[in-house]
Point group: C2
Chain length 392, copies 2
């Protein structure tokens, strides 16, 4: 006697447990509209893979009955490395399947004298042992880069701060150097901020929000005289990170932008350099930014705004300004329902989110192809393509 199991529903069950730790088999069968015997078999398979375990026994209902067995994803099934590379620093984090950060490291990096991909390969080689010292196998790597990234092909298409205007075959080159056994996913840095909010918010997973990432950096890696605020947006729409037709979604420039400047607002570059050192400049930027964010909140009907990066210093003023403009920009009498908050992850938001992005793709139901090309990012595969025969 043997039981057989399908791909899609395995992933659905795994994802259900991941999103909602403590679910019982019957809970899952009700949630996913599957027969409880089917769920039993799938859970048995996932237990055999050692990715799901029986965590606790819940309480029986008021009218009696057997107590449910609460399931959870095993935190130590594997670990994921998250990397953020900026123009002058990089950050590495290691997380387990529950999203707990057990390792983190930030260090200066000078991309004027080193190649982007080579630096990344070096970082992975250097920190992989630290992660695997926990005994958990490294199951994948997520990377956040400034610039716009095609996560499907794993390519950096262009980057202003990194001065890359031709495609860089990031994943391909890294995989050649590091071997194929570890899948690598790449995305834009602000989008990684979004992934971080998505991956471990489980029950309260927001469906529509914007991640506002402000970095204080040199205009390009070659210029080392002054730093200005560089702003990138990451958008989650209908539960998914939005990339756009050419993967450049999130690139921000004010509606009032003045031709000839390098900053993204309607101020002069001389003013932009005084950001964080001149109250008047701060106020102008905050007002202009808040208006644009408010516009997006209303036009896209976002339920949430998350602020990350050094903007956090001005968070109180910014939050107040956004809140005011959202309401002013709204034509109906009701109050707009939109939470505005600061990312609690601080410096690590992007690297952490990059790792979260990997998990999110690992535990994702394969998209049922309806038309042309499938859009699954390059090669994350949890399970063998066809069912396995199980002993009773």
């Amino acid at each position: 006697m043997a039981h057989y199991i399908s791909d899609v529903n395995i992933t659905r069950v795994l994802r259900a447990v991941w999103l909602n730790q403590g679910l019982s088999r019957v809970d899952i069968s009700r949630l996913l509209d599957l027969n409880k015997s089917t769920v039993s078999k799938i859970v048995g398979y996932l237990e055999e893979l050692r990715i799901v375990e029986q965590a606790a026994v819940g309480d029986a209902g008021p009218s009696g009955g057997r107590r449910p067995i609460q399931l959870q994803v095993r935190a130590d099934w594997g670990c994921v490395m998250g990397v953020e590379i900026q123009t002058e620093t990089f950050t590495v984090v290691g997380i387990n399947l529950h999203g707990d950060v057990f390792f983190s490291h930030t260090e200066p990096l000078d991309l004027r004298h080193a190649d982007l991909v080579d630096s990344f390969i070096e970082i992975v080689r250097r920190f992989r042992p630290s992660l695997e010292a926990t005994g958990m196998p490294l199951i994948g790597i997520g990377v956040g880069l400034p610039g716009f990234v095609d996560p499907v092909r794993g390519v950096l298409r262009a980057s202003m701060p990194l001065e890359q205007y031709d495609e860089v075959a990031f994943v391909e080159r890294a995989r050649d150097a590091l071997g194929v056994e570890i899948p690598i996913l790449v995305d834009n840095d602000a989008n990684c901020g979004c992934w971080g909010e998505l991956a471990f918010k489980h029950s309260t997973r927001p469906q529509n929000f914007v991640f506002v990432l402000g970095e204080l950096r040199k205009h390009t890696i070659e210029m080392d005289d002054y730093r200005i605020m560089a702003l990138g947006l990451g958008l989650v729409l209908d539960g998914d990170v939005h990339h756009g037709t050419e993967y450049s979604a999130g690139e921000f420039r004010s509606i009032l932008y003045r031709v000839g400047t390098v900053n993204q607002f309607s101020i002069s570059d001389a003013e932009a350099r005084r950001f964080l050192r001149d109250k008047d400049v701060d106020a102008m930027i905050i007002d202009e930014l808040a208006r644009h964010i408010a516009f997006l909140v209303n036009v896209l009907n976002l339920g949430k705004v998350v602020i990350g990066g050094p903007m956090e210093i001005l968070a109180d003023e910014l939050i107040a300004a956004i809140r005011e403009h959202i309401q002013q920009n709204w034509a109906y009498p009701n109050m707009v329902d939109c939470q505005i908050s600061v990312s609690r992850l601080g410096e690590q938001a992007v690297a952490y989110g990059a790792a979260g992005m990997f998990l999110e793709h690992l535990i994702r139901v394969p998209s049922v192809r309806t038309d042309r090309d499938p859009t699954a990012p390059c090669g994350v595969e949890l399970l063998p393509r066809h069912g396995t025969e199980l002993p009773v």
Copy 2:
């Protein structure tokens, strides 16, 4: 001997044929990654339902081989009614499954003296015979309304022009009056514009675009002294119409909006009234609108802008302004790739799109539930829930 067939793949096959008329069975099997025998059986079932037919025989390849049988959806399998209701007029269209308009009618409507839902019921009763006179059964109705609409529950949540600030149970009331046999779907008018672009663009189906709907109307139905331009946006992101958390996505108000006015821009209401009669006002509105559209194009990385409604009169200037601002608002050296065009459907764009929305839902693969509540709009069902036994 009997063959059995699944729900999901029936819809996938039907959708493939619908999106790509002239596909052969092998084409489908390659496209959807199904075995050709499976496709044969499913196509047989769809032929039996008389929704798919063998249309023509294609040419054999250069290296010989049997000639492929090209399939297509039968245009006359049924017809769909599309309705647009505005503050002062309504429009009805009838289309077949290929999207050909075989009936259309526009007429004044005074919602000051008639209830919205009652008027709709009346419209359906009055025009249903005209559609069914073709011999095709009426399989569904799509409705476009100004205001924001929850298409899942079929409810008008609020509408400025209709002066509705409480929920109207549109579908529920209409269904009670008209009977359950005809499913009804509702959405916002600008969103219906999007559905029209989606439903029948088949091969060149755009994945990310904005539909700019400008209506010249009274500020509210009660005020009959003057008309101003009312602008609504419809957004398609990653191939799907975007509604947002509370279904209010697309509500537009300028970043420079002045508190106290009823128009959506930074001009005074006195100026707004001179729209289309004063070149200076036109120029101000065009510039301000173009900047906002350009901002959205870049931030969301849209591949297309479609202009509908009476704005069409100023289309040339508007298109030029949008094009200019898109490029000005873009930081990288390359040209932004974004088509800007005017909806060819003119007056009928919304009603036609409403009908298209219905078809799009009819021929849509059921979403595999991964978490909580399913988001399929109320009751469109093409097929019996379980497989049917077929004779050989």
